[in-house]
C-alpha cells in the first residue's frame, strides 16, 4: 500500500478535480467548458476505481498496472479533446473550425499509428504497451499543442481572463511533466519523482478551480499585461 503522503496527495487531487466540476456548475459554465469538465469527471471516476483496485490487489499487482495504464490512455485522449476544445474557444471568431477539427483527427490518428509502430514487434502485452506508448506520446503532442495555442493567444490578443489562465495552467502542467520526465531520465532517481509527479496531478485541477472561482466569463485582461505583439 502507498504511504500516508501518497494517500494525502491522492485524496487532495481527487477533491480538486471534483471541485472544478462543482465550481463550473455553480458558475453556470459547465456546458461552456464541457470537455474540461468531462475530463475531470472521468479523472475523478478513474481515481476512485484505481483506489478500489489498489486497495483490493496492491500497488505492485498486475490488476492495478493494467487498470492504471488503460485508464491513463483513456484520460489522455480526454485531455487531448479538452485541449482541442480550448482551440475552438480561442479560434472561434475565425473561420478555422474546419482546420481544427481535421487537424485534431489527423494528429490523434498519427500519434496512434506512430505508437503502434513502436510497439508492433512486441508479441507479449501488445495492447498494454500500446496504451502506455500512446499515453506518453499524446502528452508530448499536448505539450507542443499548448505552446502553439499560447502563441495564438498572444497573436490574437486574447483578453478573456478565464480562458487565458486555463491555457496557462495547462502549459505549466505539461511543461512541469516534461521537465520531470527529463530530470528522471538524466538522474535515474525514481524515488525522487514519487511525490513530485502525483503532486503535479493536483496542480491542474486546483488552478482550474481557482480560475473558475475567481473570474467570470466577462472578466477581461488589460491587453498591455500580455506580451505586446506588433501586428
Amino acid at each position: 500500500m502507498p504511504g500516508p503522503i501518497d494517500l494525502i496527495i491522492w485524496f487532495l487531487g481527487t477533491a480538486f478535480e471534483l471541485a472544478f466540476v462543482v465550481c463550473s456548475l455553480a458558475r453556470k459554465s459547465f456546458l461552456r467548458y464541457f470537455f474540461l469538465n468531462l475530463y475531470l469527471l472521468l479523472s475523478t471516476t478513474v481515481s476512485i476505481g484505481r483506489f478500489f483496485i489498489l486497495w483490493s490487489y496492491g500497488q505492485r499487482s498486475g490488476q492495478y498496472m493494467y487498470f492504471y495504464f488503460y485508464s491513463d490512455a483513456l484520460l489522455t485522449v480526454a485531455l487531448f479533446v479538452a485541449l482541442i476544445s480550448l482551440y475552438s474557444h480561442v479560434l472561434g471568431e475565425l473561420t478555422a473550425g474546419e482546420y481544427v477539427k481535421w487537424g485534431a483527427v489527423f494528429l490523434l490518428l498519427g500519434t496512434a499509428g506512430f505508437s503502434y509502430a513502436v510497439v508492433a514487434q512486441s508479441a507479449n502485452r501488445l495492447s498494454t504497451n500500446f496504451a502506455y506508448e500512446l499515453s506518453q506520446n499524446l502528452y508530448f503532442v499536448g505539450l507542443v499543442l499548448t505552446y502553439i495555442l499560447w502563441g495564438a493567444v498572444l497573436k490574437l490578443r486574447e483578453t478573456r481572463t478565464r480562458l487565458v489562465q486555463i491555457i496557462l495552467s495547462l502549459g505549466l502542467y505539461f511543461s512541469a511533466y516534461a521537465a520531470s520526465y527529463a530530470l528522471l531520465n538524466f538522474s535515474g532517481k525514481f524515488s525522487m519523482m514519487r511525490y513530485i509527479c502525483p503532486a503535479l496531478g493536483c496542480f491542474l485541477p486546483l488552478s482550474w478551480s481557482l480560475t473558475m472561482l475567481r473570474y467570470t466569463d466577462e472578466s477581461r485582461l488589460v491587453p498591455a499585461r500580455l506580451v505586446a505583439v506588433p501586428r
Binding site: 478535480e17 483506489f51 495504464f69 487537424g103 489527423f106 498519427g110 499515453s135 531520465n185 493536483c202
Partner: protein, 55 residues
C-alpha cells in the same frame, strides 16, 4: 492546397516536433519514465522493448 491537406501537413509537423522533444528528453532512457494523469501512485511500468537482435 485544400483545408484537409493543410491540416494534415500541420498535424504531421506537430507530431514530428513532439516526438523530437520526447527523443531528446529520453536520451538516457532508464525504462522507468512515465507521465500520467491524476494524483494516483504509479504502478510498475510495463517492460520496455528489448533492442533489436536481443531475446
Amino acid at each position: 492546397m485544400s483545408r484537409k491537406l493543410g491540416a494534415l501537413v500541420l498535424a504531421m509537423g506537430i507530431l514530428v516536433g513532439a516526438m523530437g522533444i520526447k527523443t531528446v528528453l529520453s536520451a538516457k532512457m532508464t525504462g522507468q519514465t512515465m507521465m500520467a494523469n491524476g494524483p494516483a501512485p504509479w504502478p510498475i511500468p510495463p517492460p520496455q522493448q528489448p533492442p533489436p537482435g536481443q531475446p
